[in-house]
């Protein structure tokens, strides 16, 4: 067992992790632990753009951006956070440009901007060009640029180190009102070196979680195989709540059957959606901004077209994204990669044929709750000193119940930077927290269980069954019945999971073992998502309950907070499901009052 000591340990080297590393690395002794080589992180898959009210091509300001974010999130957004993000967006983009990011340019040489779903001028009057972009590889450029700057600043990476546990200690503390509670403190993390199979303990004053999303709970997803929600799962197991997990974004345009994403930028550049009758059906659902309505609305409209029998293809199970009226040269200049995906993976030529698309699981709006300085909360308002989270793993919450396109690349940059600065600042003043006794015990037990269990169940099969039921019952449309079905299924999967067999018994590069560990996180998160979805008896943003189709501000204008609590046993009520206790947290309002969300 090796013990390393760092001021700051960053878990994850995607956009959020590396943005934090650049800040923290220059201020404090920092290590970045990542289960993938940094440039393999899924930030690199992001395509369309990153929004900031630069007003380079038309009038715009950060306040409109805040409004769009709040409205896009169906008013479940914490408005103080949204303001921070929209305001700092401008600097975030400029920072990236100065780091060398090759944005597309306007004829005057400024950063070019394009339209994106839900981004409007003057509080919804008309679409606005706000997304800064580099063709349809904005995320790729961000990831590369950040990695390049990490190289520049000699950031220390531990590549292919899986963090499997967070080390915290709990101390009794008294609140101002005299109540006694258990205060968590951050001591470090336990990680598994993929190459050798050895455990390494990293003692740290600050830990930043930046492990990205959890899209693999679904079958059809734009997310990478490696996005298994590790950070959320680890935090949850440590008694840290997860916020707003019922809100998962389904991106309208995934390649049908595959889930590979075709960026919203396609529609931003003029592509339109059609049903089997050739009709531009978004005209019916969002008369003003049509195909550029926010994702939840478009995804639902598409699913509805298919449900009502206007789907295309042999099974009538997808709709079409039509780019054929665009100039091939324009497509090549602005959308080269996604058109290549259509050609490579579906054999469709987007110049002349419409592309089959269907909603694909895309983004977790929820996650580890933090405040606007990215400090992780152990309940509604108690900060865990030294623990930070940023990026998709976190819930600040700037996305509310539905994230606007381009706001995530923004999120990782704004809050990644904040996390890096805050974590380093804290580490420079704080002392190390003593490691708990036997810090690796839990991880050893976890791995031993997975390694030695010999019931013959296959990890991949359980995962597939989980993803199938999530796709069937937890996707765009949800009902109490479908959600209860998922919970019943998960109970079976959990039992099966206790009987898995991992074939690879070796130490070197044992990905078989780690897939089993990751499945554990997926099961946990799927359950949290479903329980939270069951609890939220209304429809809002990405969460649509057919049995409760209206938004219900009176009862549900609040965040949900899910805690691991073994004391909660199965009662078939929406309030409590085995092992999970649900609470709520108020939404922060500053200047916008909820209105009906129409586009």
């Amino acid at each position: 067992m090796q013990v390393h000591k760092y001021d700051v340990v960053i878990v994850g080297a995607g956009g959020a992790g590396m943005r934090a590393a650049i800040e923290s690395g220059q201020r404090a002794h920092t290590a970045v632990l990542t289960k993938l080589y940094p440039t393999r992180s899924h930030t690199g898959a992001a395509q369309g753009g990153m929004c900031a009210a630069l007003a380079n091509v038309e009038e715009d300001n950060w306040e409109w951006h805040t409004f769009d974010t709040v409205k896009g999130g169906d008013y479940l957004v914490d408005q103080d956070a949204a303001e921070v993000m929209a305001k700092e967006a401008i600097e975030a983009v400029i920072d990236l440009e100065k780091m060398g990011l090759p944005f597309n340019r306007t004829p005057e040489g400024r950063i070019d901007q394009r339209r994106f779903g839900g981004h409007t001028r003057d509080h919804g009057k008309a679409p606005v060009r706000r997304a800064c972009y580099a063709a349809d590889r904005t995320g790729h450029m961000i990831l590369q640029t950040l990695y390049q700057n990490c190289v520049k600043h000699n950031v220390e990476f531990y590549n292919e180190y899986y963090v499997l546990d967070l080390l915290t200690v709990e101390e009794e503390a008294t609140r101002e009102d005299g109540t006694v509670y258990l205060q968590k403190k951050t001591a470090g993390v336990v990680s598994y070196d993929l190459a050798t199979g050895e455990l390494h303990i990293f003692q740290a004053k600050s830990v930043i979680l930046a492990t990205g999303g959890a899209g693999k709970v679904f079958k059809t997803t734009s997310n990478a195989h490696t996005l298994t929600g590790d950070g959320m799962g680890i935090a949850f197991r440590k008694g840290i709540p997860l916020e707003d997990m019922e809100f998962f974004q389904f991106h309208p345009t995934g390649l049908a059957g595959l889930g590979i994403l075709l960026s919203e930028a396609a529609r931003g550049e003029g592509a339109i959606l059609r049903n089997s009758e050739g009709e531009r059906f978004m005209e019916r659902y969002a008369p003003t901004i049509k195909d550029l309505a926010p994702r939840d609305i478009v995804a639902r409209s598409m699913a509805n077209e298919v449900r009502e029998g206007r789907g295309c293809g042999p099974n009538k199970d997808y709709v079409l994204l039509d780019l054929t009226h665009l100039e091939p040269a324009h497509i090549d200049a602005k959308l080269p990669d996604i058109t290549e995906f259509a050609r490579t993976y579906l054999g469709v030529e987007p110049y002349t044929e419409p592309v089959p698309v269907f909603p694909t699981a895309h983004y977790a709006m929820g996650g580890v709750p933090t405040n606007i300085t990215t400090e992780v909360l152990q309940d509604n308002d108690t900060v865990i000193p030294g623990l930070y989270a940023a990026g998709e793993v976190a819930c600040v919450s700037v996305h509310g119940s539905n994230r606007l396109g381009t706001n995530s690349l923004l999120d990782i940059n704004v809050f990644g930077k904040r996390a890096g600065i805050a974590a380093a600042k804290y580490a420079l003043t704080a002392d190390f927290v003593e490691l708990p006794e036997n810090p690796e015990a839990d991880t050893v037990a976890l791995l031993d269980h997975v390694r030695k269990s010999d019931g013959g169940e296959k990890v991949a099969l359980i995962r597939k069954d989980l993803q199938d039921t999530m796709d069937a019952n937890m996707q765009v449309f949800r009902t109490a019945d479908s959600l209860n079905k998922v919970l019943a299924d998960i109970a079976v999967f959990e039992e099966r999971y206790s009987r898995i067999t991992v074939q690879d018994k070796g130490k070197r590069f044992n990905l078989d073992l780690l897939e089993a560990v990751e499945l554990g996180f997926l099961l946990e998160l799927a359950k949290v998502m479903t329980v939270a979805a069951l609890h939220r008896q209304e429809s809002r943003g990405g969460h649509y309950r057919e049995d409760f189709p209206e938004r219900d501000d009176e009862n549900f204008m609040k965040h949900s907070m899910a805690y691991l609590d073994s004391g909660v046993t199965v009662e078939n009520s929406a309030e409590s499901i085995a092992g999970i206790r649900l609470g709520t947290k108020p939404v922060v309002f500053t200047r916008y009052q909820p209105m009906v969300r129409k586009y």
Binding site: N154, F157, E160, A195
Partner: protein, 155 residues
Amino acid sequence: MSTNAIASPRSDSAQSPKYTRSKSSGSSFEMFAWLFMRLSGVILIVLIFGHLFVNLMVGEGIHAIDFGFVAGKWADPFWQVWDLAMLWLAMLHGTNGVRTIINDYAERAGTRLTLKTVLFIASAVIIVLGTLVIFTFDPCPPGAVIDLPSFCTVP
């Protein structure tokens, strides 16, 4: 734990190879060698094609080649310069080419050095020898018994 700031811990583990790329030499030798290959190549085309043409194509081709033929050519300074240039350029070009090949295939520094030493000595010997032959050549050696070029006056 790694002390080197940039290297990931993997690079000091036992199984990882060591990177011994020496610091930049600061000279542009490789660039000039590269350039030379191209320049000499272009000139060599003319020289070698001319050489081949005259030796193999004109008249009776290869059957015409004998001492007299060679002597006849080298009596003319034009062919002396021609052949000298060809000798030098081809040898330098070829030597540098083989040097590249040694760099490619001989991985260990020791092997590289040995092979290159052999190469350079061999090349130097050949270049010197060839040059001497062209310049110190006497087209009408005394005591020759076979067909000397016609301009030799019989002793």
